[in-house]
């Protein structure tokens, strides 16, 4: 009969030897497993065979296996190139890319967001695509847009996600509003009417979380751009104290003061805004078109539509519509830039780009590609028409430290909304802060 101590000793010894065995095996395996998947140097090549790394966050947002399928097709067309997909969570993607860039281990082809381009380019982390494309005699006229710094292209938008106004038609009708608002006055009236319905329902959702401050581009500055305004001078310097930006901010403040905005604004994240719209707690939100499928899936009975963002009363010009892109660039340290360009060109080719856009529910970065709307939601056609009749507007793309610019604006806006400073004060502060960054 063993004593308790002896049993514990035996158990602990067994535990020790078991884990020691695992450790030994693991350390032995560590050498092998590490190098096969993706080792420290960016890519490998052996006798003509080239392995490229494609770092992105898109795979998780596309239907399972679809992205891998497109990549396999590329490998089939280019038998000497293998592509390793490195998928990372979007929330931490920029942090990881900064870390990778610092250590020189950026993937050969790297997914980019417009907000990071300027700083990566300045760092020398991403390559000048203009010269690469010229060397390959690539026809750049088919690209809907290119993100350039000092005249050189560093990022090509692959898929564009526009942010129209999502409107819950049932709530509108219940509130007694017959038409979708097209001017700011109509919007305020509609939001007020919806909020009056009570029962936790509000008119508008505004996610001002400072961890990811892209609401400034999508939900705040969009009002300015929708009325043809700009936050920059013609030479690209900050100009937030102009009349149009002021009018846009005052408009947002008026909505906040009228209490037609859903509670929790100051730390609300984009995902929360979408959830609230889906469950019918919020009547109108500015949101990415990519969410149409999500909303339909989570609430098939929701009767909603998309519309252009309302403009200032009396404005008849073209309306800017905010957008975010899945962009792509090439690592400056990649030893296989030519092959990397081939992958980029593949993603931008009319056929593949159209497929990718359809899968992602976005608009193609290739002008000649036409997404297949036939099998998808009719709202995509509606949005496409809005897209064609307006112009894509996101002035933060390509700005230095764009995320910091947005965050500064957002922090100042939060102070104004909660009443601790005037709109003028806020804009002056922002102007000063921005000028220091530029």
């Amino acid at each position: 009969m063993m004593s308790k101590d002896a049993r514990t000793m035996r158990g602990a010894r067994r535990l020790l030897s078991a884990t020691a065995t695992v450790a030994a095996v693991a350390l032995a395996a560590a050498g092998c497993t590490g190098t096969s998947g993706g080792s420290s140097s960016a890519s490998g090549s052996a006798g003509g065979q080239v392995t490229l790394q494609l770092g992105q966050w898109w795979e998780a947002e596309l239907p399972a296996g679809s992205f891998a399928g497109l990549i396999s097709q590329f490998e089939a067309q280019n038998p000497n190139i293998k592509v390793t997909l490195l998928t990372s969570p979007f929330a931490t993607f920029s942090q990881q890319m900064v870390t990778n860039a610092a250590a020189g281990t950026l993937p050969d082809v790297v997914g980019l967001s417009g907000a990071w381009v300027s700083d990566f380019a300045k760092q020398g982390a991403i390559a000048d695509l203009s010269s690469l494309m010229a060397a390959d005699k690539y026809d750049t006229s088919q690209l809907a847009s290119q993100v350039q710094i000092s005249g050189k292209t560093y990022m090509i938008p692959v898929v564009n996600f526009v942010y129209p106004l999502f409107v819950n038609k049932d709530l509108l009708t219940k509130a007694g509003v017959s038409t979708v608002p097209t001017t700011r006055t109509e919007f305020t009236a509609a939001a007020t009417a919806i909020s009056k319905l009570g029962g936790n329902v509000e008119g508008w959702g505004l996610p001002l979380d400072t961890a990811v401050p892209n609401a400034i581009a999508n939900d705040v500055m969009s009002w300015v751009w929708a009325s043809g305004g700009s936050m920059l001078t013609s030479s690209g310097e900050p100009d937030v104290t102009n009349a149009q930006v002021k009018s846009g901010v005052e408009f947002v403040k008026s909505l906040y003061d009228a209490k037609v905005i859903s509670p929790g604004t100051l730390t609300m994240k984009e995902q929360d805004k979408v959830e609230q719209f889906t469950t019918g707690q919020v009547g109108m939100v500015i949101d990415t078109l990519a969410h149409v499928t999500l909303v339909r899936k989570n609430n098939p009975n929701l009767n909603f539509t998309v519309a252009p963002i309302p403009a200032q009363d009396g404005y008849t010009g073209k309306r800017g519509i905010p957008y975010a892109s899945w962009g792509v660039g090439i690592s400056n340290k990649s030893p296989h830039k030519a092959e990397a360009l081939k992958l980029v060109e593949y993603l931008m080719s009319a056929n593949v780009n159209a497929q990718l856009s359809t899968l992602a529910k976005g608009f193609p970065g290739n002008k000649t590609a036409v997404p297949d709307f036939s099998k998808s939601d009719p709202l995509f056609k509606t949005a496409f028409d809005i897209y064609q009749s307006g112009y894509p507007a996101n002035e933060f793309v390509g700005l230095p430290k764009a995320e910091q610019l947005e965050r500064t604006f957002e922090e100042q806006l939060q102070q104004t909304l909660t009443g601790s400073q005037s709109v003028d004060q806020m804009l002056t502060n922002t102007q000063t802060a921005w000028k220091a960054i530029f």
């Binding site: 101590d5 900064v98 610092a102 300045k122 400072t210 922090e411 939060q414």
Partner: protein, 321 residues
């Protein structure tokens, strides 16, 4: 716990390999060195690991902090203490410092109170072992989950239309849903509550262990002397637990000051910077401003402050030995 080993001498008798000397006339090393060698040899693996994987990166961070244009630009240059001045005079840093102090002191204090309370409840002689084991398992649940999930889960629970508000309004404790994480007045408190939930199990277990180690004779003697439960707690339990409480408190202050993910994923440092702590400040400097010099300076300041706490911890340890 009492240890009753077998006769120690017999171990050597049973196994001759135990008697192989390392020093002496048949040993490899001269006796003086061989006598001094063992402790250094034993701490060697740890020291090597910590030197390579901790001291080196820390030195790199300190180097970054006294230079400009590090990491993101090819041409770095020596900048003296200018980054430190910049950080210390930054009102955001000062706000972060204040918030961090509030955060860590509140968290630690309440961790101890809750940990002690639960430990006392779990140590009671009045309930059976099975009941106690059952509750013990429930009480350590928060310890099982990774920080990212805890942050996301509590965002769900504390959202304006979430479960917390639903329960509180149904019970009549608040009139209407409160914006726990988004209102400047409640955000810091809410974040403290989440951190308390996530971290109390460790305290509870350590204190429970401590409670079980208090000799029962002390309590019995006190009962004979007519001491009440409260007096027994105050005069026996607390003094006996004092060493653990102090150790845990210092360690918790240090660990909590590093908390990043929890705050970043719930409030991002907002609203209006009320939950901005030193770790979120450092993160924003590094990964949003791309200012690694100031981020490193900020990190070194945090390191310095924590080292002060660490020094007190070691001093207190040695005072007890």
């Amino acid at each position: 716990m009492k240890v009753t080993p077998n006769d120690p001498g017999s171990a050597a008798q049973l196994n001759p390999t135990l008697t192989r000397p390392i020093s002496g006339s048949r040993g490899i090393l001269p006796p003086r060195i061989a006598r001094k060698l063992p402790p250094y040899a034993f701490i060697a693996p740890t020291v090597i690991l910590i030197v390579v994987l901790m001291i080196v990166p820390i030195l790199m961070v300190i180097t970054y902090s006294v230079m400009d244009n590090v990491v993101v630009q090819p041409s770095s240059q020596f900048a003296g203490l200018h980054n430190y001045v910049q950080v210390l005079t930054d009102p955001d840093f000062q706000a972060a410092l204040r918030n961090t102090l509030v955060f860590i002191v509140a968290s630690t204090a309440i961790h101890l109170v809750i940990g002690l309370t639960f430990a006392i409840l779990l140590n009671t002689p009045m309930l059976g072992a099975a009941t106690k084991a059952f509750f013990r398992v429930i009480y350590i649940l928060p310890w099982l989950f990774t920080v990212a999930v805890i942050a996301v889960l509590w965002r769900l629970l504390l959202s304006p239309y979430g479960v917390a508000n639903y329960l509180l309004t149904s019970l009549g404790l608040v009139r209407s849903g409160v914006d726990w994480l988004a209102s400047p007045t409640t955000a810091l408190g809410a974040v403290v509550v989440i951190n308390i939930w996530a971290g109390y199990p460790f305290f509870m277990i350590s204190l429970l262990a401590g409670l079980q180690a208090v000799p029962s004779e002390l309590y019995e003697a006190a009962k004979v002397d007519g001491a009440s439960a409260l007096q027994r707690f105050w005069n026996i339990t607390l003094p006996q637990l004092r060493p653990i409480i102090v150790s845990m408190a210092v360690l918790d202050l240090i660990w909590t000051s590093q908390q990043f993910a929890l705050i970043w994923m719930t409030t991002g440092g907002g609203p209006l910077n009320v939950t901005e702590v030193l770790s979120t400040f450092t993160y924003k400097q590094a990964f949003s401003n791309y200012e690694f010099s100031t981020a490193s300076a900020s990190a070194v300041i945090v390191l310095f402050l924590s080292m002060i706490l660490g020094y007190f911890y070691v001093r207190q340890q040695r005072a007890q030995d």
